[in-house]
Symmetry: C2
Subunit: 366 residues, 2 copies
DNA sequence: GGGCTTGCCGAAACCGGTTTCGTAATCAAT
DNA sequence: ATTGATTACGAAACCGGTTTCGGCAAGCCC
């Protein structure tokens, strides 16, 4: 009866697979197969191995497994840093969500950044090539997303934060922004608004298409006609939001309420309203989407549909892990709703469209 | 003459060390030693190996190296997510700095998060144990930093973002916040202010001690006496800043200017000033520190000393890499200055201390 | 010219795992 | 009882590197 050491009570040096094997009197191959659910291991042995491994605190070294399997239980996230503010406020929560869910299954997160789109692709390549990541979370899905194309080609698993028109081999998680936009319109309509404008985000993002559709759906549900002159977009920053608002206010028959696809842009509406001498929340109503903290500090606080970034990170991580483990992407598509966070930026219209036009003209917006 | 393949023109599969060795007609041991500067390789061979490896696009697989060497060219960063807003605005830039500098030397970044301090320590342990990180960047240095103690004990390299009293085996990078506080006082004094208050951050952070000293140094340089009743602290959020400001305004002989250690707190001063009917920038002057974007949107824009987080990330990454490579920590200590970003929140005093006291009393602050 | 270094490299062990292959033992079928 | 298939595991190769060890050849000294 050889090999009957009982090396329990592991000190600081790592417990290796051979330690577990020795303690059980089997070979490390057996331990490995038992832990990885190979079919040629008896149920009895599997249980014995499981128990002892657990008791000894054995955790396989991901990088050692990786040299044979090619996988190291690592998620990848490449952030694009040249885009306007966008992900800033959420980033911390988003990362917390991802790493929280990942570490629960003993996975980790590798983060990289890139400036331009080209650099983005080469960064993905590099991470794949150096096996620093088994798959990727792709935030900010574009309608035509080259990251997606590349990873499909390389046959590297990924999950989108956002949806996409061509769903071939795509897993995703997304917040139903279109529902929020729809609800925003209905809420404004119930306040009594009939002329409602829409300021969208950049058209390159897939979410912009969806939110626009949601706005239209809301208008239809409310029995209101969409005035195409009150639809504008490409507003991803506070400044762009201010300019877009000024354009709407300067129109012949300005809106009494505006729905924004992006909070940052909605904050610009505050600046524009101040210039025109209009009070946000009464003279002009604003509802937006994102739930950034600055919205809560604004006066009046911004009414917005807030997104739980931490939950998004968690669910994305879990989906990606299942995807990497080989599950069918078609079955890995989840969505959630944004949550209305009522502020003081919307209410019954205190002014008519004509009166607003007058104020705007007086402020020299026309 | 065996082994004379010339497997140039690598296709998609990785170039392995054995490919390089075969191409040169040497063993992989020789290639490895040549690339890692072993002394027992002739200069001629070393150059030949270098050139061929480069030409073939060979990059060693970090995880494969790691199983023998224990190191995988990976930096670690553990973010604490339960603390108020603090790092939010900078995080994206900070990460961009770290990963930019890291990837330039073919290193990567592993990010983890933790809620409490205890979880923080176990997360560090886990990353070290699973060899997911060769060393750590520790942001937000505390005066008594347990992370530091743990890593010292485990003999894992780290670099502080911030300085610390006990510099034993510590490398660091820091912004000289005390200099900024000093300059802030001098600027206010040159405006003509003589009663200047100070609102510090949380005392647990080492930077708070330093910034307080900087404030005192500035007062001394300006020939002004420090009134201890005008010194307060623990203001890390907008709300806390508002409350601290109210306390100062409610004092018998309130300040005409306040220096803040943290931008977020300074924004709270805007709220307090509004409540008291005081105009920031004239009735009451404010200068702060951090350079968060919200400061620029405030009205008037916040005068602040801004920190280049991207540069901080870059330098921290470079220092940590050198530290991991074995350089002496004593030689790895760098600092930089914050840069004054003038806004409209400071200027010559438009009111006396008595007048301010009157306004505060009228607003019911007393 | 013989012994002793020294420089330089090949051979092989090693790191901590996974996976293939072969085979002893068990079981079912003839 | 013999055969054939199955089960369950040991032995060993393997992944892509690093590091130790040993030995050949050239250089040095006397």
């Amino acid at each position: 009866m050889p090999n009957t050491k009982t090396a329990i009570l592991s000190t600081s040096p790592r417990v290796r697979i051979s330690d577990v094997a020795d303690a059980l009197g089997v070979t490390k191959g057996t331990v490995s197969r038992a832990l990885n659910d190979y079919p040629d291991i008896s149920e009895t042995t599997r249980r014995r191995v499981r128990r002892t491994a657990e008791a000894m605190g054995y955790r396989p070294l991901a990088q050692a497994q990786g040299i044979r399997t090619g996988r190291t239980r690592t998620l990848g996230l490449v952030l694009q840093t040249d885009i306007e503010g966008a992900q800033r406020p959420f980033l911390s929560d988003f990362l917390a969500g991802i790493t929280g869910a990942a570490s629960a299954e003993f996975w980790t997160l590798t983060v990289a950044t890139s400036a331009g789109g080209g650099e983005m692709l080469s960064t993905l390549q590099r991470l794949v090539n150096e096996r620093k990541s088994d798959g990727f979370i792709l935030p900010r899905t574009l309608s035509e997303d080259e990251r997606m194309k590349l990873l499909r080609e390389l046959e590297v698993p990924f999950v989108l934060y956002g949806r996409v028109a061509d769903p071939d081999r795509c897993a995703w998680f997304d917040i139903l922004g279109e529902e929020a936009m729809r609800d925003a319109v209905l809420r404004l309509a119930s306040h009594g608004h009939r002329r409602i404008g829409f300021v969208n985000g950049a058209a390159a993002y897939n979410f912009s298409q969806l939110r626009k559709e949601g706005f239209r759906a809301g208008m239809a549900d409310a029995g209101l006609a969409v005035d195409e002159t009150l639809m504008t977009g490409e507003a991803m920053s506070r400044n762009a939001g201010r300019e877009a608002t000024c354009r709407l206010l300067a129109s012949a028959d300005p809106p009494t309420a505006i729905v924004f696809a992006v909070d940052l842009a909605a904050l610009g509406a505050y600046d524009a309203a101040r210039s025109a001498g209009l009070a946000v929340g009464s003279d002009i109503s604003v509802i937006s989407y994102d739930g950034i903290p600055e919205g809560g500090w604004a006066r009046p606080p911004l009414t917005t549909f807030s997104v739980d970034s931490r939950m998004a990170g968690e669910r994305l991580a879990r989906i990606l892990i299942r995807r990497i483990r080989g599950e069918d992407p078609e079955s890995l598509r989840e969505t959630a709703l944004a949550e209305l966070q009522p502020g003081g930026s919307d209410g019954p219209p205190a002014m008519t469209s004509e009166e607003i036009a007058g104020r705007a003209a007086a402020a020299g917006m026309r």
